[in-house]
């Protein structure tokens, strides 16, 4: 499965999400590769370099792609790996558009603040243009509540649902990933939150949210693979 993690706003947690999903996928025994398609920042490469320095296992490979051959490179990787997780930069880039053409799923991490919601029309136009070329294989944008406040009065979940209703072509994932220090701690160690040792309550909740998200994103793919096996 080719999974695109992207949006047109920076700092939404795309790289964090890509690494955490990728590591969880690798821990499930899947042959995965992470693709750093953000030549401006290279955050994903930094994360994995940090992971390698700390000797964390399983080892998760990462490659960088750039420019108008991105889609072909992703297709080539898709032949060798069970899953390819692509992290694009937080802007409307060539790499984002190329990945949108051939991906099977597109996760858009979003904290539904006003500034982030204002990026949705741009995102929808990219999705619509890509779908105009994809024929029957229409791509749906999966909105993920990411870095959401743990405040019980937060209206983020309802706001996210409202965003999905306002922009046809997008749906909300039921998983919510809250803003937690566990992600920063794991990042410093080059780990995913699912790998933190002796987790406290907050770290366990972060871990559970990533596992739930993993099931939600890859569940159908795994079921289809199991049925075909």
């Amino acid at each position: 499965m080719q999974l695109l993690v992207g949006g047109v706003k920076g700092g939404t947690g795309k790289s964090t999400l890509a690494v955490n999903l990728g590591v969880e996928r690798a821990r499930q025994g899947k042959k995965i590769i992470l693709v750093d398609a953000d030549p401006d920042q290279e955050s994903l490469s930094d994360y994995i370099a940090n992971r390698d320095e700390h000797g964390a296992m399983p080892s998760v490979p990462v490659v960088q792609v750039k420019g108008s051959t991105t889609a072909k490179s992703l297709q080539a990787l898709g032949r060798d790996f069970d899953d390819v997780i692509v992290d694009c930069g937080g802007f409307d880039s060539i790499e984002l558009r190329q990945a949108a053409l051939i991906s099977h799923a597109w996760v858009v991490p979003l904290n539904p603040s006003q500034l982030q919601i204002w990026t949705m029309p741009k995102l929808k136009s990219v999705l619509d243009e890509a779908n105009a070329m994809r024929g029957d294989a229409q791509l749906t944008g999966w909105l993920l509540g990411m870095r959401i406040s743990t405040n019980p009065y937060s209206s983020a979940k309802d706001d996210l649902q409202a965003v999905a209703e306002a922009f046809p072509g997008f749906r909300t994932l039921r998983t919510i990933v809250h803003q937690r220090a566990a992600f920063e701690k794991a990042e410093k160690l080059g780990l995913a939150v699912t790998e933190l040792e002796k987790p406290n309550t907050s770290e366990r909740r972060a871990r559970d949210s990533i596992r739930e998200l993993h099931r939600e994103v890859f569940g159908v793919t795994d079921a289809i693979r199991a049925a075909n096996a």
Binding site: E42, V65, A71, I94, M133, G135, T221
Partner: protein, 203 residues
């Protein structure tokens, strides 16, 4: 702001919201990636601009002109492309953290060559890594210049040719080192030297 009143019954849930739907991925699309429509669609996206070099190179250095390859690099085989990927050996996949200034120098060199950072980095790593592995096999363990990436870092991910991956494995296992550390310490001085040769000496 007044405290919201307590509600003693659960609010009514709108139709459809309680329903948990499977998130089904899209099938693989049949797209001609070389078609003019696809190219036009892609090119409406912004191109990533390499960051400016802080230490002396002016606008002229940013011109996308090919630069003569160094004589040392000429006979080397082309580094592997993504399509040639063989993925069974984890030693072939490396991600290196470079100091930000080294990363920018690498970008500048690659731009001037109309090449890629990964390709230049691979070329730069080949000789020093082979020399280091040769030294280790003969029982010598030369010290490597310490590289401090600091807070601001620039990452580069490479797929090593199999022979280089074997050399890297030998070095790492012999020294009980970390592969990204070895590669960063080899790469940074090479980038500095090539930057002086190919970028600064042009002005």
């Amino acid at each position: 702001m007044p405290k919201p009143p307590l509600q003693f019954t659960r609010p009514a849930r709108p139709e459809g919201r309680t329903e948990q739907r499977d998130m089904r991925p899209a099938p693989s699309p049949a797209i001609d990636l070389d078609s003019p429509e696809v190219q036009a669609f892609s090119l409406r996206g912004r191109v990533a601009v390499p960051p400016l070099i802080e230490d002396g190179a002016g606008e002229g250095a940013r011109a996308m002109e090919p630069v003569a390859r160094s004589s040392a690099s000429a006979p080397e085989p082309e580094p592997p492309l993504l399509d040639d990927l063989i993925v069974d050996d984890p030693w072939r996949h490396v991600a290196i953290k470079l100091p930000a200034v080294s990363g920018r120098k690498l970008s500048e060199i690659a731009d001037l060559r109309c090449s890629k950072r990964t390709r230049v980095a691979l070329e730069l790593l080949q000789n020093p890594l082979r020399d280091l592995a040769r030294a280790h096999r003969s029982g010598e363990y030369p010290p490597l210049r310490r590289v401090s990436a600091g807070v601001s870092r620039s990452g580069v991910s490479l797929i090593l040719p199999q022979d280089l991956a074997d050399d890297l494995r030998h070095v790492v296992e012999t020294r009980r080192a970390v592969k990204a550390q070895i590669l960063a310490r080899l790469l940074v001085p090479e980038i500095d030297a090539l930057y002086i040769k190919e970028v600064l000496h042009r002005h």
